[in-house]
């Protein structure tokens, strides 16, 4: 987007994966571009750019949102967690192992978004059953696995047998 070059910018401060950051962003730029291009955190993926696929999911103050629909300036003052920030997370350690064990990763493009969505779900409902897991992941598209293995992986962490 060349128009962004001359767009009005705003300096914002927020917590990113536990550390304070300060960055100047064009006011109409989305948080996904800011994360990937200005802050070089490329774990968060660009899939559709319009809220349909969930590859760009991040946590904002603990709730999952699509970074592609979020105005970067809106990160000001908030706590943002990307998939990189889950590296030291206990729930995520279990999710990662379960995804590997259940074969829930093929090309891997959806996996960062799936991790974020699954983490947001399990923080709210640690014992989520399969229906709740399906609901929790409905904003995340996977073109490879057919979902069953992904649901199996999250179910292994929540410990559900329903």
């Amino acid at each position: 987007m060349s128009a962004n070059k001359k767009m009005l910018t705003r300096e914002i401060n927020f917590t990113l994966n536990g550390s304070p950051v300060q960055v100047s962003v064009p006011v109409a730029e989305n948080a996904l571009i800011m994360l990937r291009e200005e802050l070089n955190l490329t774990g968060t993926k660009y899939g559709c750019g319009e809220g349909e696929c969930g590859a760009c999911s991040i946590l904002m103050d603990g709730e999952s949102v699509n970074a592609c629909l979020m105005f970067a300036v809106d990160c000001d003052g908030r706590e943002i967690v990307t998939v990189e920030g889950l590296a030291q997370d206990e729930v995520n350690d279990q999710l990662r192992d379960a995804f590997v064990e259940k074969g829930a990763v093929q090309c891997g493009f959806c996996s960062p978004g799936m991790m974020i969505a699954a983490k947001a779900l399990l923080d709210k409902k640690p014992n989520a059953n399969r229906d709740e897991i399906k609901r929790g992941l409905e904003g995340n598209i996977c073109r490879c696995t057919g979902y069953v293995k992904i649901i199996d992986a999250v179910a292994a962490v929540s410990g559900t047998n329903q």
């Binding site: 128009a3 009005l8 750019g49 809220g51 949102v65 629909l69 300036v73 000001d76 947001a120 904003g139």
Partner: protein, 287 residues
């Protein structure tokens, strides 16, 4: 012009109204409609972009005695998780439950859904059924003026409402329905989660001895604005909801709508869907 010259983050309704009074402002709430519409070239930014997410007191649901007050920044997730909404407006809980994905529900606001004024906006049909009103605030002569408009009269066309550019939608007022009020929402899209409704049907009324009174019916995505279905309401009022009556009401509903063909569905299909959806909601409430 699509060049943004000012970015404003008001902290109060009063500050927001001052900014609006200067004119040429694009309001940003959750951004889930705005970002997509700008990217697709359907909307251009005005010279001021005003982010209202930090405005105090615009988020949340409160019990005000005979009505509920829902702040414009209340998210779809907030609606879904609210006990007050579940108690007094089940239909809105059901619509929030059928709304997009977790991520969209966490960002999208009720004020944005109403202001976007899509005939397929999923909170609109429930709000019509609940006889809701929208509250608008502006500052024409330096002091705050508010007015309320019944939601059934609020929409004037796709993307169009009676709100003036100088006004901010601050809240939705939902009168508490009478005891025995039941309501339900049915949405049909081609994919359950993220799809924009092809048609939706809302039904409410006071249920007694198998019949509904004070009947309210609304349809979404079959007309340029959410449709209050007065003929279908009349056909339902006070009648015992047996299978034959349900069939007759559904036939009235089918006749009452005059939808269009578009990329999501043909007019014929929408009429069929209204009929079957109408049966579904009638059976659901009469159970």
């Amino acid at each position: 012009m699509s060049e943004i010259q000012n970015y404003e983050t008001p902290n109060s309704v009063s500050e927001a109204a001052d900014i609006l009074a200067k004119g040429d402002v694009t309001i940003l709430a959750g951004g889930t409609d705005l970002m997509v519409q700008v990217d697709a070239g359907r909307v251009e930014y005005k010279s001021t972009l005003m982010n209202i997410r930090r405005v105090e007191g615009l988020r949340g649901i409160s019990d005000e005695g005979d009505h509920l007050r829902v702040g414009a920044l209340t998210t779809i997730t907030d609606l879904l998780e609210s006990d007050l909404i579940a108690e007094h407006g089940t239909i809105l809980t059901e619509a929030a439950d059928a709304f997009a994905s977790v991520q969209i529900r966490n960002a999208g606001t009720i004020g944005g859904n109403i202001s976007n004024a899509s005939p397929a906006g999923d909170t609109l049909v429930p709000l019509v059924v609940l006889n809701a009103e929208v509250e608008l605030a502006s500052k024409p002569n330096g002091s705050i003026v508010t007015r309320t408009i019944p939601i059934k009269d609020y929409f004037t066309g796709p993307g169009k409402t009676k709100k003036e550019d100088s006004e901010l939608l601050v809240a939705v007022i939902i009168p508490k329905p009478a005891a025995g009020f039941v309501s339900t929402f049915d949405k049909f899209g081609s994919r359950p989660a993220l799809d924009i409704s092809t048609v939706s049907v809302g039904l409410g009324g006071v249920l007694k001895d198998g019949a509904l009174t004070d009947v309210r019916v609304a349809f979404g995505a079959v007309a340029p604005v959410p449709l209050k279905a007065t003929a279908t309401e009349a056909a339902t009022e006070g009648k015992k909801l047996d299978e034959a009556t349900i069939d007759a009401i559904a036939a009235t509903a089918k006749d009452e709508v005059n939808p269009i063909d578009d990329v999501r569905a043909t007019a014929w299909y929408r009429k069929e869907m209204i009929e079957s959806s109408m049966k579904k909601v009638l059976r659901h409430v009469s159970k």
